[in-house]
Amino acid sequence: MDFAIFLVQCLNAVQYGLLLFLVASGLTLIFGILGVINLAHGSFYMIGAYLAYALAPWVGAHLGGGFFTALAIGLMLSVAFGYLLEWGFVSYLYERDHLQQVLMTYGLILVFEELRSILVGDDVHGVAPPAWLAGSVPLGHVMTYPVYRLFMSGVCVAVALGLYAIIARTRLGMAIRAGATNREMAQSLGVDIRLLYRIVFAAGVTLAVFAGMIAAPVSSVYPGMGNQVLIISFVVVVIGGIGSIRGALLASLLVGFADTFGKVFIPQTAGILVYVLMAAILLWRPEGLFRTG
């Protein structure tokens, strides 16, 4: 492998890792702060991708088109959706054990998959990226790299920085951290925990939907796309330490590198390499890289 190819592979790894982070960040928020094992997180990702597919023609007809208009509408819908879901279902899960959480959120997966099948069907669909991002840039004379993938990486970095700023630097972030550490104490100090949890859950859902919408032009839109993402996201959350945004970012990049170079150097074991990495890290640090709360 010459140096140019190596650099391109590094770019592939970082780019894949950042996309993983976008999905996993919502999962680690919900898992770490609300203590809810949310198996339906992959479904939110899928819903996002299908929203990008379904909204594009509607936005084109009524609002004159635009990928970002569709994105904005999708985000508003997902905030409302997450808020209602927390109110109707998830808020009953905080005091219950993990088995009941798993059952409820697994049930949600089945409902969402079936609804998807009824509403949109089982075909594979493509989503067009915005025209000004549709091109490619040459990478040396090896190959070209789609501009949209680079744009995606930029968005992921921006989201990572934004999340960090909110959690570490704002009053809301302080309340969230307090709520995660000690629910009762935070409540007695005047933090409205119910509202706070609802906001966090809605934010988690929105992050997953956002990831799905952003990824749709690259990944296409197809049945079962959420399940695959769910498993790898849990790996990221466990490696990074439950509830830690910083950990999720580092873990995503680690998984990105392990997956990319695993496929290239030891293709026979590419399927399990990520899990070997997880096992090794858990042996070394059973709580994950950064444990919060």
Binding site: D2, R149, S220, Y222, G224, T260, K263, P267, A270, G271
Partner: protein, 389 residues
């Protein structure tokens, strides 16, 4: 109380009448069991196969071999772990004479085992797993579709003829992918090329970027890819986005571009693939079939509908030879073995291992169609290694 008893009596009577009716009918009807996916990712394929089958029966006035049919259905959910239970429902509970199924290769392996053990007639209308007509082949097992090896071999032959000497292959690491690549290697060898790099990734992983970079670094003359569904869409688009399609032609079996062209869009235009069916075949049989199918079901037929239609034709050939007496199994099997099936894809016969011996078409993606370019290999038969009958 009397009212209730009355009602109960009526229900009992009705039930008894039903049993009599079913019993009387069953004597003169051949019992056909469909074991197909009616839910899940492959639901559309299962429906198309059944539609195709019923269309042929309808053309024959509702009869095969002069006997009326009775249908039994089981949804296999494309779930290998439930396959044995599901096929036993048809064989033991419903007492079917024939099982028609299925799409998923993993499910069909379990079905073939049970069919072989119970000596039940089985017609496979899609799943291309080679083992079923290879080491597991049996007199009572037939296939109306293809073996994974066939389109691969044809593409290999064409790639070599078009001057590809060094080729890279890429597929998911599972049976269908491996078998397809195996066929491609055999075909490429026959026309003077060789595979220099075999890339695989775990099923159903769709993160191709690392392997695309590998392809760019290897600089082969061509690439052969086996993917289906969402993976096929993403691979073809990623390949184009990486700019590789400008310098390295991408070949594949028909599944790479079948039913996915709307989603693949511009990325797939001009691609060459091989399959036993294509758009724009200039065959009277195909034109009639397409017209009838779209009239009956208000939708266009696909390759799966053709395979279902031909499953019914193969059974008809067998049933007709024994005048509907399915107990005369030996003659029935011999009749199917020697039949010339007038398929919408073109006439085909069956190999010793009971796979279709068929023309594989070279197709080119133009708009939303896989237009036929010509015949890649005439009357291609899978050598079916390991089959002893």
């Amino acid at each position: 109380m009397t009212v209730r008893r009355n009602a109960l009596a009526r229900v009992t009577l009705a039930a008894a009448l039903c049993v009599v009716a079913v019993g009387a009918g069953a004597q003169s009807r051949i019992r056909i069991g469909f074991m197909l996916p009616y839910t899940g990712t492959y639901a559309a394929l299962g429906t198309a196969i059944e539609n195709g089958f019923r269309l042929y029966v309808q053309e024959k006035g509702g009869k095969l071999g002069g006997r009326e049919l009775e249908y039994f259905k089981v949804d296999d959910e494309s779930e290998p772990s439930k396959a044995v239970d599901n096929i036993n429902k048809l064989i033991k509970r419903d007492n079917v004479d024939v099982v028609v199924g299925t799409v998923h290769s993993g499910v069909v392996m379990a079905m073939a085992k049970v069919a072989k053990d119970t000596n039940t007639l089985l017609v496979i209308p899609n799943a291309g797993a080679r083992a079923v007509t290879g080491p597991m082949c049996a007199p009572n097992i037939f296939r109306s579709s293809f073996s994974n090896w066939q389109p691969g071999y044809a593409m290999g032959k064409v790639a070599g003829e078009r001057g590809a000497k060094k080729v890279a292959t890429i597929t998911w690491k599972y049976a269908a992918g491996n078998e397809s690549v195996e066929g491609f290697k055999d075909g490429l060898k026959a026309s003077g090329g060789e595979v220099v790099k075999e890339l695989t990734l775990p099923f159903p992983n769709v993160e191709f970027q690392a392997l695309l970079t590998e392809i760019a670094a290897t600089k082969p003359d061509a690439v052969y890819a086996f993917f289906a569904g969402g993976g096929a869409v993403k691979f073809v688009k990623d390949y184009a986005a990486a700019g590789l399609n400008k310098t390295i032609p991408l070949y594949g079996p028909g599944f790479l571009t079948d039913g996915t062209l709307e989603a693949q869009g511009a990325a797939a235009q001009g691609m060459l693939t091989t399959l036993h069916y294509a758009d724009g075949l200039d065959l009277p049989k195909d034109k009639a079939f397409r017209a009838d199918y779209s009239k009956t079901y208000k939708t266009n037929p696909d390759v799966y509908a053709v395979q279902g239609y031909d499953a019914a034709q193969m059974l008809d050939a067998g049933f007709t030879a024994v005048k509907g007496d399915v107990a005369r199994r030996k003659e029935l099997v011999a009749a199917i073995e020697s039949a010339h099936i007038d398929s919408p894809r073109g006439t085909f016969t069956l190999s010793k291992s009971h796979d279709p011996v068929q023309d594989i078409y070279l197709r080119k993606v133009i708009g939303n169609e896989n237009r036929v370019e010509g015949v890649a290999v005439k009357a291609l038969a899978d050598p079916s290694p390991g089959c002893r009958m």
